[in-house]
């Protein structure tokens, strides 16, 4: 995409936004009544036209069956990780002596895509016990409630690698 075109709206994301907003509208209205759907289509078109800008190449995701399958596997992995971490957190909170060793550690990611890094940081935050405080280049600063490793490589292996394994395929 040349620089002259880069200020124009991206048709693909415009259409995706419109469809997503329309689906949301229909879920919340709760009927397939013609009037409601037409009103929703008009409003969704207005909002998506105002909100959608150019879509730089680095934010684009190429769809393929393998990636979709990995995305599903990733969601399952994330759900299990969240559930397990919540149980560990419950054990910590209920233990009388409050066994925590908190600290902020530095980990590195191999992901190049900004969208992949965003999803990685959010996944880390969503799992109780680890909380991404700041991001600088390819380094994440993570508040970890139970620091049990001494060097950055080991922390990276324990916190990041599980998610990265899937995200590298999805956004890679």
């Amino acid at each position: 995409m040349s620089s002259r075109l880069s200020s124009q709206k991206d048709v693909g994301s415009l259409l995706a936004n419109w469809l997503g907003l329309l689906a949301l509208w229909i879920i919340f209205v709760g009927t397939f009544d013609t009037q409601e759907v037409i009103a929703g289509a008009v409003v969704a078109a207005l909002v998506s036209f105002m909100a959608t800008g150019p879509n730089p190449a680095r934010w684009q995701v190429v769809l393929s069956p393998r990636r979709l399958f990995t995305l599903l596997a990733y969601l399952g992995y994330l759900a299990v990780a969240i559930f397990r971490a919540n149980l560990q957190m419950a054990a910590i909170v209920l233990s009388p002596e409050l066994a925590i060793r908190p600290g902020i550690v530095r980990v590195r990611t191999r992901l190049k895509s900004p969208l992949g890094r965003l999803v990685l940081a959010n996944s880390i935050t969503l799992t109780p016990g680890t909380l991404s405080v700041d991001v600088e280049g390819d380094e994440f600063f993570i508040h970890w409630i139970n620091v049990d490793s001494e060097d950055a490589d080991d922390a990276t292996r324990r916190i990041v690698s599980g998610f990265e394994h899937y995200l590298e395929i999805i956004f890679g």
Binding site: N86, A90, V93, I100, P102, N122, S123, T125, V133, H143
Partner: protein, 116 residues
């Protein structure tokens, strides 16, 4: 049968919310309170919403949308609060083992001071 399953799921979710509230009261500093408080309650809130959806099956699509919204926005607000706490200089608890972010920030401050 379905309402009973839904109500039980809501009960499990409410139990996680109570655990999160205990966590926010017991933890020593803001970072650990975010860990134990807002994030541990995410699972509770999502479970409660899904459970209410199973209990009242007509509401399920809407409640799934709300649960997805909570799942997407909650890490963002946790991260924003943690970053704000660190930028505002809120000290970490005494139990803290190390703080590599402060170590990474410190040289920069000196550079800025000498430059100005």
């Amino acid at each position: 049968m379905l309402p009973i399953i839904g109500a039980l799921v809501v009960l499990v979710g409410a139990a996680f919310m109570v655990l999160a509230a205990i966590g926010i009261i017991r933890m020593p500093d803001p970072y650990n309170r975010i860990q134990a408080g807002t994030k541990a309650s995410t699972l509770g809130v999502v479970l409660a919403l899904i459970g209410l959806g199973i209990y009242e099956i007509d509401l399920l699509p809407k409640l799934i949308v709300i649960a997805l919204f909570v799942l997407i926005t909650n890490p963002l607000s946790s991260h924003a609060l943690a970053r704000a706490a660190h930028a505002a200089g809120v000290p970490l608890a005494d139990e803290t083992v190390r703080d590599e972010l402060a170590a990474a920030r410190a040289p920069k401050v000196i550079e800025e001071e000498t430059a100005s």
